[in-house]
Symmetry: C2
């Protein structure tokens, strides 16, 4: 995937709005990890903000809480098995979840947390607020930078014409797949 | 659609997790309205909770704020044009958005707000917290009751085998469509 070209995106809410699963990557420059999050939403277009839900006992949550940052990576269908695998094991129990799942970590530009090279879109986020939900936390963050693979995005939106398939978690090991779009005509 | 059968769902997060657009229906028993919300997420499985983002100047927001309740209705592809139409006009400007869009309001069991008959899934929600986000509000609610059309749900998950197509907002008048699912095998 290293030969793929990415471009900067100024409207990252367009990447998040369809509601696909994301991989949250965390790290302090020494230790790193990532985990899948189906429960995520845009909170604001400009400046862009996102909310994710995370269990507070997660290894990654502790890293995220310590650094105040995370990467947000959107996987396509080709990564679905790795997404499931990454959710089955804790960073408490393995040294390197990137190696464990066969995903590649790359450096981010604005945060210490790594990003996932194989993701079709990647964002760099700084936490601005954490709402305690008991066993979990609603983590609210500013999106400092976002980028998308050029063949997956055009006219400010996801573009399925080159074969993109997004995955939406249904529960368990199952994903709904979106790979087509419809355009509603005005006046209908 | 009135002949369709619905069944109660005890795990409404399974309806919300794939991230399709929802219609939020509001009302105080006299006045009612509804509006589309792409930015929504599950907050808790049990007791079930959901978060939605709403502009604070929306006619519906004012009704929702007054009553502390809303209905959450999940449309399928057959309703896509009505979803777009419902987002183009404000309840400030028209008397009856249900009539305007050709959707049917039905009574809920636990709240005064109506529900949308044609939706493939419907939930009754009571607001527990509102987080001010400036021009918009992050509205957090408990899901008191949820139901889904029987042909769209099996084994505790959405079921695409009978022709269900979910719609995920991409921006503008465009939706991504999910109508298939994949099951990841353990060990992959």
């Amino acid at each position: 995937m290293s030969e793929q070209n990415y471009m900067k995106v100024n409207n990252p809410h367009r990447l998040l709005t369809p509601g696909s699963v994301v991989l949250i990557s965390v790290g302090d420059g020494e230790d790193d990890n990532f985990f899948p999050v189906a429960w995520n939403m845009t909170l604001r277009k400009s400046p862009p903000m996102v909310a994710i839900l995370s269990g507070k006992r997660h290894y990654s949550y502790q890293l995220m809480d310590k650094t105040g940052e995370f990467g947000l990576n959107i996987p396509d269908r080709s990564l679905a098995a790795k997404v499931i695998k990454s959710g089955k094991v804790s960073g408490h129990d393995i040294d390197d979840k990137f190696a464990h799942t066969g995903l590649t970590k790359i450096h981010a530009g604005h945060i210490k947390a790594p990003l996932v090279q194989e993701a079709v879109a990647r964002m760099e986020c700084r936490i601005s607020q954490v709402n305690d939900m008991g066993g979990s936390a609603l983590v609210i963050a500013q999106i400092l930078h976002s980028e998308v693979r050029q063949d997956c995005f055009s006219d400010g939106k996801w573009d399925f014409s080159q074969g993109l398939e997004l995955i939406h978690h249904m529960g368990g090991n199952q994903f709904a797949v979106s790979n087509t779009s419809i355009q509603i005509k005005e006046g209908n």
